[in-house]
């Protein structure tokens, strides 16, 4: 099932990501999303910011239909057979479209191929015995032969600077390395949209800088859920502010992140670089 992805995408239309009126409550009744509206065009890098519990991770999980699949699942049913993945009641009105196709039971496989999701905790994503096997997991499932999958995995490991780690068990790597392996595993599926959940959380400064440089060099649509507002300024021209499951602001990152009152109201702080800039500007004005 090796498909030519580029031509595949060319036939589809619409924005890269469209979310309309998306609501979601976890099975325990906790309402995580309350009518999210979001459109991301091809080529855009968008930051998703907001306080803890705002619903950022939940939103990302909807992009490739991992949720609401889980709601209809208990521990004893398996949802990877695509028909049962979303319950019929949910399938009536899809709220998420990727590249023009709705994310529903019928297009689930397609959505999962187009959206690459980087989980917050690398340990959730790495489960194979060696780094190489793990990165090759996606390509193998997409139908590539053993040789093709191996080649692609090595390529992607080289892209994240970890080709030497290929034979090592993932749990022996450092946290930063593990996260880069995860990224390689996602890239190996050649997604059109990269959805990254707190990609710089828990990284030491050097690993963080490397990871940001790495992300900056990647083409395609990026949707980054994060608290790292300096990274947002470096990577994302546009920012969406989410709070209590709703989009409360959406606009150019510099303007939005410079609005100290707005950020304060939603549990965030103006990034230090903008704070300093504002202070210098004020001082200069004072000196004149």
């Amino acid at each position: 099932m090796t498909v030519d992805r580029k031509s595949d995408y060319a036939t589809a239309g619409g924005p890269a990501v469209r979310v309309t009126g998306l609501e979601y409550a976890y099975p325990d009744g906790r309402r995580a999303l309350a009518g999210v509206e979001l459109v991301v065009e091809a080529g855009e890098s968008v930051a998703l910011v907001g306080p803890n519990g705002a619903g950022k991770s939940t939103l990302l999980l909807h992009l490739n239909g991992i949720l609401p699949g889980r709601a209809s699942r208990n521990l004893f049913t398996h949802v990877h057979d695509l028909e049962s993945a979303s319950s019929p009641s949910r399938a009536i009105s899809p709220c998420v479209w990727i590249d023009g196709s709705p994310v529903d039971a019928k297009h689930l496989r397609e959505a999962r191929r187009k959206v690459g999701l980087l989980f917050q905790d690398p340990d959730d994503q790495l489960f194979c015995n060696t780094v190489l096997e793990d990165v090759a997991f996606g390509p193998r499932n997409l139908g590539l032969s053993v040789d093709q999958a191996r080649r692609r995995a090595l390529e992607c490991l080289a892209r994240v600077g970890l080709e030497d780690a290929a034979p090592r068990p993932p749990h022996h790597l450092s946290f930063g390395e593990r996260r880069r392996v995860c990224l390689a595993g996602v890239l190996a599926c050649e997604p059109m949209v990269l959805a990254l959940d707190e990609p710089t959380a828990n990284l030491d400064p050097r690993a963080r800088r490397r990871f940001i440089e790495l992300l900056g060099g990647l083409p395609g649509v990026k949707l980054i859920a994060t608290h790292d507002l300096e990274m947002v300024l470096a990577l994302c021209p546009r920012t969406v502010l989410l709070d209590r499951g709703r989009v409360v602001a959406d606009g150019p990152s510099r303007g939005l992140l410079d609005d100290a009152d707005l950020l304060e109201k939603h549990g965030l702080e103006r990034p230090l670089s903008l704070e300093l800039e504002a202070r210098f500007a004020a001082e200069r004005r004072g000196a004149c």
Binding site: L61, N64, I66, G69, R70, L75, H78, V79, H80, D81, R109, R112, R113, V115, G116, L117, F119, D121, D123, D124, Q125, F127, C128, N129, L132, E133, A136, F137, G138, R140, N141, L142, V146, A149, R150, P169, H171, G185, V186, C189
Partner: protein
């Protein structure tokens, strides 16, 4: 809890990789059935079967030490069940409780050793693929695949939880039954949540329930 090294897959040095994993699985199953069928108290026959297994392990070139360590972990479980089940076994009247329990434990341990050898000699994925080809339900195979995939996380999780506990009990060892059950319950819950997230991550990368790795 075994160390992580012990949980590493014991990859055999000389592998009859080309031999069909299905045939090996069949042989291992036959061996297990034979072991189970041996009447309690037939020690010589059990000894002979053990010798056969030892020969096979040597012939396959399986990393024997890692295999032995994994087997020791299983042995605890086996011994526990044999101990509880022996009391209800009718053979108890003839052999006595201790001998019955010992014989049952020996048989189970031998069967476990055979299966461990199988999974060490062939990659676990190969064995699973063979089970699948023999017509086992996907859910069952999935469960096994999954267990294999995140067992090292289980060890880590337990280590973290015991450390956290130790930090709050200030080094006093207080492994009462309540503490232990609480620990195990917590581990189970965390494991379930983790397994859901791991499963999600697998789905994200196109998992369809069919084990495929770089060897199969």
């Amino acid at each position: 809890m075994p160390s992580e090294a012990a949980l590493e897959p014991a990859r055999a040095r000389v592998l009859p990789r080309r031999a069909d994993a299905r045939a090996a699985l069949g042989l291992a199953s036959v061996y297990v059935v034979v072991v189970v069928a041996v009447p309690l108290g037939w020690w010589r026959v059990l000894g002979l079967l053990a010798l056969v297994l030892a020969f096979v392990i040597g012939w396959l070139g399986v990393a024997a030490r890692a295999l032995f360590r994994r087997w020791l972990c299983l042995l605890l479980v086996v011994a526990f069940f044999a101990g509880t089940a022996a009391a209800a076994n009718p053979e108890r009247a003839r052999l006595g409780l201790a001998a019955t329990a010992l014989a049952m434990a020996a048989k189970s341990a031998l069967a476990a050793a055979a299966m461990l050898t199988l999974t060490s000699a062939y990659s676990f994925t190969n064995v699973l693929a063979a089970i699948r080809r023999l017509g086992a339900p996907a859910v069952f195979v999935d469960g096994l695949y999954f267990m294999e995939r995140y067992r090292h996380l289980l060890a880590q999780e337990l280590a973290r939880m015991t450390t956290a506990r130790r930090a709050r009990t200030f080094g006093r060892s207080s492994l009462s039954w309540t503490v232990l059950t609480g620990l195990l319950g917590g581990l189970l819950l965390r494991t379930l949540e983790r397994s859901l997230r791991v499963h999600d991550a697998m789905l994200c990368r196109g998992w369809t329930g069919e084990p495929r790795d770089l060897e199969s």
